[in-house]
Structure formats: structure tokens, C-alpha cells
């Protein structure tokens, strides 16, 4: 490679297990100090990709460069990466201090310095004084912290995390997310984080690669990903989304007219190559971009009439499902309870009006 390199370059990497293609020609550049997430449903190849970075799986084709060095000939124990395993892989025959100090053997630090480093690491993961405990005496959250301390004590260039929060309950998971992010910022190490939880990926990451069937569908910042997904699959995977089939009926200057299933005739700005006269596409609209009210006029622009079919109470908010003529599925609408009594109690079958702004519409290629 003669071009300027990123800190980590995954260059056209594929992995085949027999006839199964687990990772299919993936190329990703990751900058030093970035918190990068690989997001996707189980079996999308994200863990395989992580294991190739760690060196536990070889690449079938392609090459991985870390800090300018090709990795394919370098075994796991010589790579500048450390990993936090999904099941933590805490050694049961060693105590916590023994686990954390495991990677320091070759550094020949001497007892005092080694103990100091272990204490420092325990301090960092907020478990001071836990050195003498055994793995089975620790809770899942504590084991997770030990695994983190054990990996970070090696001061790796890259920390790989394989769904480390998956086994924790929701409350603890949210706590650990914040801590993990704070930790990453303080140590400045590049984190590569694998998860199937889109909320987690959006909360933690600088950038996210959404994967499916071994391919990267989209790679972008969480905001970009949420607001401007590039296709129906990504839009469907990240958060909730209402989809409508649409046809472009007319294009004039920078305005286009769409005939949208259920929503009727809509004006949109005619930017991008998707909007060609006669083309079919998909219009997507987030539940929170729909405003629900009990009054409305049939003639208003970007407003339609519907009928409440069900609602789901989620504590901090409610989601309503509104049946609209011409739509196959009811639309999902986020209700906001601000405490000012604006969130009216609606009955099933009530007539409601939905409105939205033109800017909230996301245009996606037809599938």
C-alpha cells in the first residue's frame, strides 16, 4: 500500500467457512482513538471480523493493517490488540490479581511494580481491593470489569470488545455504557466494539458499520445513520421506521411530486439521483417525526386522517399505531408525555390526524 494509511485498515477482507461466506469483501478504515462499532444481527459476520482482527481467524482474502503493519502473518500473541470476550473468559484457577497480571509475565516487572500496575488497573475499573477474590465470587458486571482491566493493563493499541455488555441486565448495561465511553476517552485507545444492540452502538460510538450477510451496508456516525440511512435494511435495523412505497410522478426544477402509498401526493426537494420522473422509491418516516392530534383538516399539506388501532405504553413515552387508508400496516407514531396534559388519552378507534414536516421524509431506493 502506497497511499496514506489509516491507523487500522481492513482491506478487502473475506472469510469463508467451507461454502459459507461469513465476511464478504469488507473494507474499513479506522482512525487512532476512535470508538468504532460493528453492528448487525447475529450471523452477520461482525464477530468473525473482530476475531480476524485479534488473529483467532485467518483471512481468506484481503489484508488487515494495524499501525501500518500487515497482520496476516502475525499470530494473536504478537498482535498489538487485546480483547474483551463475550463470556469474559476469566481464568477460574487464578484470583482477580492473577487474572489481571496474566499478560505482564514477559515484561518482568518485579513484584512491587506488578502489584502497583494491578492496583492501578483495579482502580481504573472501580474495583479497588478485589485482587484476592476468585472469578466465581464475582457478579457478571464485576467479571466484565476484570476482563476490561486485564486487557487494558497491556496498554494495547487497539481494544476489541465482543458484545461485552450482552450478558448484563438493562440497568447495569446502561451504566457500563457510560463508563466504557468515559474510559475510552481517558485512555485514548482505539476501541472496536461488536454489538447487535443498535441503541448501544448509537450511544457509544464515534462511527458505526452496519453489517448484514457478511457485508458492510453503511458506515457512518450514529447521527448520520439514524437520520440518513442509505437503504431500507439499515433504516429498518436502526430504530423504528414507517415505510411507504412511492412513485415519482413529476420533477420540476428542484421540486418533485411523489405519489406515496397512503400519504397521497407529496412535494419533496428533487435532490439526488433517486428522484427521476417515473422512478419508484421508498419513503421512510420516523415515529417521532409524526405529530398526532385530534383535530385536523383534510386539505392540509403533509397531514392525513387515520384511526387509532392500538397503543403501546413504554413508560417514558407511548407509541400509537394508526391505521391509514391505503397503507398495509398501521403507522407507528411516538407520543410525547411532557406532563402538561398534551398527551390526550385516546380510545381505540378514535379519529386522529397525523402531520409531519417535509424535511423529515427520508427517500430510499426501492427494494
Amino acid at each position: 500500500m502506497t497511499t496514506k494509511q489509516s491507523f487500522i485498515t481492513i482491506d478487502g477482507v473475506s472469510k469463508h467457512f467451507g461454502d459459507v461466506v461469513a465476511v464478504d469483501n469488507v473494507s474499513i478504515d479506522i482512525e487512532a482513538g476512535e470508538f468504532f462499532s460493528l453492528l448487525g444481527p447475529s450471523g452477520c459476520g461482525k464477530t468473525t471480523l473482530l476475531r480476524m482482527l485479534a488473529g483467532f481467524e485467518s483471512t481468506t482474502t484481503g489484508e488487515i493493517y494495524i499501525d501500518g503493519k500487515a497482520m496476516s502473518e502475525i499470530p494473536p500473541h504478537q498482535r498489538p490488540t487485546n480483547m474483551v470476550f463475550q463470556n469474559y473468559a476469566i481464568f477460574p484457577h487464578l484470583d482477580v490479581a492473577g487474572n489481571i497480571a496474566y499478560g505482564l509475565r514477559k515484561d518482568k516487572l518485579g513484584k512491587v511494580e506488578q502489584n502497583r500496575r494491578v492496583d492501578e488497573a483495579l482502580e481504573m475499573v472501580k474495583l479497588p481491593g478485589y485482587g484476592k477474590r476468585r472469578a466465581h465470587e464475582l457478579s457478571g458486571g464485576q467479571q466484565q470489569r476484570i476482563a476490561l482491566a486485564r486487557a487494558l493493563i497491556k496498554r494495547p493499541k487497539v481494544l476489541l470488545l465482543d458484545e461485552p455488555l450482552g450478558a448484563l441486565d438493562k440497568k447495569l448495561r446502561e451504566e457500563m455504557q457510560l463508563e466504557l465511553r468515559a474510559l475510552q476517552e481517558s485512555v485514548g485507545i482505539t476501541f472496536i466494539f461488536v454489538t447487535h444492540d443498535q441503541e448501544e452502538a448509537l450511544t457509544l460510538s464515534d462511527r458505526v458499520a452496519v453489517m448484514a450477510r457478511g457485508e458492510v451496508l453503511q458506515m457512518a456516525s450514529p447521527k448520520q445513520l439514524y437520520n440518513y440511512p442509505i437503504n431500507v435494511e439499515v433504516a429498518d435495523f436502526i430504530g423504528q421506521m414507517n415505510f411507504f412505497d412511492a412513485q415519482v410522478t413529476d420533477v420540476q426544477d428542484d421540486q418533485a411530486l411523489l405519489d406515496v402509498e397512503g400519504l397521497g401526493q407529496l412535494k419533496v426537494s428533487a435532490q439526488g439521483e433517486l428522484v427521476q420522473k417515473g422512478a419508484s422509491l421508498v419513503v421512510a418516516l420516523r415515529p417521532e417525526k409524526l405529530l398526532l392530534s385530534e383535530q385536523g383538516n383534510a386539505g392540509d399539506e403533509n397531514t392525513i386522517r387515520g384511526e387509532l388501532s392500538t397503543s403501546a405504553y413504554l413508560g417514558s413515552r407511548s407509541h400509537y399505531f394508526v391505521a391509514v387508508d391505503g397503507c398495509e400496516y398501521p403507522l407507528e407514531v411516538a407520543g410525547h408525555d411532557s406532563g402538561f396534559g398534551t398527551d390526550v388519552s385516546l380510545q381505540r378507534g378514535s379519529e386522529v390526524w397525523l402531520s409531519w414536516s417535509r424535511e423529515s421524509l427520508v427517500l430510499l431506493p426501492a427494494e
Binding site: 500473541h77 487485546n82 470476550f85 473468559a89 499478560g103 497491556k154
Partner: protein, 271 residues
């Protein structure tokens, strides 16, 4: 009958069956220690006088002590070597994707089902052909052959019980395969290693047929006992010796089973 779940309800026929089964299994064996305290050299009821005479004689019996030492030497060497082979065999078949894995396991396990007499004759012919003189060494060789399957079986459960990611974690933390084996794999399977050694030792210690075929002039303890049976007046000595072997064998097997099952669960749940 209240507060008893369906599965816990007493079942009289099954209970009777279990008692009969255990009686059939153990009463003949228990005659051995019983008659070892008998004053008479004839095995017959009623036992008129009790004695510890035969046990006292045992310690003065030099050929017997020599046979015992032979058995211990053969047992120790056979158990250590077959466990050594068992560790690597078990690691190989549980850790790596080897083509022909199942046929390979079948071949390794075959000595379990091959009749000892066939194995004995076959080895005898082979060893004669090669020209190795029969001795305790050839007995040890035969014992290793029959012990390796037991060692493999014991260690394979141990290897299957622990998570592969432990070894990956070690590699990830900078240790190569050699150090990973010493620092993670071996400590984690160590109870299995001990259990395997104890089990192999008892197998070797009790083994008769192969020792009979492959032995030279130095007898092992079972060979010695076999020799003694020709002399009726020595029978009580054999009974006393048998009682001791029985007790020690039970004890050793019990320890080895306990080692296999102890903290096996803790290793699984920690993974």
C-alpha cells in the same frame, strides 16, 4: 404421601430390585475380607476363631513384598506415561478440527473392547518377533496400551468442559501455545490429570492377563497371587492380601471420581 412430587414417590419393586442387585454385586466380594479373619485355612462356615495372623504374616512375606513393589513400579510408570499421552490425545481431539476425528477416537478407545487375552497373545507375538526380552518393561508397555483409553475418556470430559476462549484469552494476552498450555490448559485440566493417573494406576495394579502373557521372571502382585493359589495352605494369606487390595482400590477410584466431578461445574459456570 403429601408434599411428595411425582418423581420422588417411593417405588417398592424398584427398591427391592436395587437391594438384590447390590447384594449380587457385593456379597461375593465381601466374603474375601470376611474369611481373611478366619483362623482355619479352610473356607467354610461357621467361622470358629478369629485372627489377625494372616495380616501379620503378610509383612514378613518377602516374595510378596517384592511383587508388591514390582506392581507399584509398573503402575506408577504406566499411569504417568498413559496420562501424558492422554493429555495430548484428549487436547487434540477436543480442540482441533482433525479430519477423521471420530474414527481416530474409535481406534484409541478400541483396547477397551478388545478381549484382554487377544491383546495379550498379539502383544506377546509382536514382542517375541521384535526380540525384546519379557520383563516388567513389557508388562508396562501392555498396561499403557489398556490405560490410554481410560485416560483419554477421563481427560476428554475435562477438556470438553472448559471454554476454548480461555486459551484464546491467554494467546490474546501475549502467551504462545507452549506458555498457554502451562499457564491455562494444564492448571484447568489438572484435577482430570490426577484422576486419570489414579484410575490408570488401579487398572495397572489389578491387571492380570497382559501381565501373565508379557511378564518375565519378576511377578506383579496379581501374578504372585495366582502362583499362591496352587498351595491351599497359603490361601488365607491371599485372602488377607486381597482384602487390602480391595480396600485400596475402592479408595483410589473413589478419589479419582471425586476429582473428576469436583469443581467440574464451577469451571463450566465460570466460562
Amino acid at each position: 404421601m403429601k408434599n411428595v412430587s411425582y418423581i420422588d414417590r417411593p417405588n417398592r419393586p424398584l427398591f427391592v430390585y436395587a437391594v438384590l442387585f447390590l447384594a449380587f454385586l457385593y456379597i461375593p466380594v465381601l466374603f474375601l475380607p470376611l474369611f481373611s479373619f478366619n483362623d482355619s485355612i479352610y473356607i467354610a462356615f461357621p467361622i470358629e476363631n478369629w485372627t489377625l495372623q494372616w495380616y501379620r504374616d503378610m509383612f514378613k512375606n518377602e516374595p510378596m513384598i517384592a511383587a508388591l513393589m514390582n506392581s507399584i513400579r509398573v503402575g506408577v510408570v504406566a499411569s504417568v506415561l498413559s496420562t501424558f499421552l492422554g493429555i495430548f490425545g484428549a487436547k487434540a481431539v477436543t480442540r482441533y478440527h482433525i479430519p477423521g476425528r471420530n474414527p481416530m477416537i474409535a481406534v484409541i478407545m478400541a483396547p477397551l473392547v478388545i478381549p484382554g487375552i487377544i491383546l495379550g497373545v498379539a502383544l506377546l507375538i509382536l514382542i517375541n518377533r521384535v526380540g525384546i526380552p519379557l520383563s516388567l518393561y513389557t508388562i508396562t508397555l501392555g498396561h499403557i496400551l489398556v490405560c490410554v483409553p481410560f485416560s483419554m475418556a477421563t481427560l476428554m470430559t475435562r477438556f470438553e468442559g472448559f471454554d476454548k476462549s480461555m486459551e484464546e484469552a491467554s494467546a490474546d494476552l501475549g502467551e504462545n501455545a507452549w506458555w498457554t498450555f502451562w499457564r491455562v490448559t494444564l492448571p484447568m485440566v489438572f484435577p482430570g490429570v490426577l484422576a486419570s493417573m489414579l484410575l490408570c494406576f488401579t487398572i495397572s495394579f489389578d491387571e492380570f492377563i497382559l501381565a501373565f502373557f508379557l511378564g518375565g521372571t519378576d511377578p506383579t502382585l496379581p501374578l504372585y497371587i495366582w502362583g499362591q493359589l496352587r498351595f491351599p495352605q497359603r490361601l488365607p494369606n491371599v485372602l488377607a492380601l486381597g482384602a487390602c487390595i480391595l480396600l485400596i482400590s475402592f479408595f483410589v477410584v473413589f478419589i479419582s471420581q471425586w476429582l473428576v466431578h469436583r469443581d467440574h461445574d464451577s469451571i463450566k459456570s465460570a466460562g
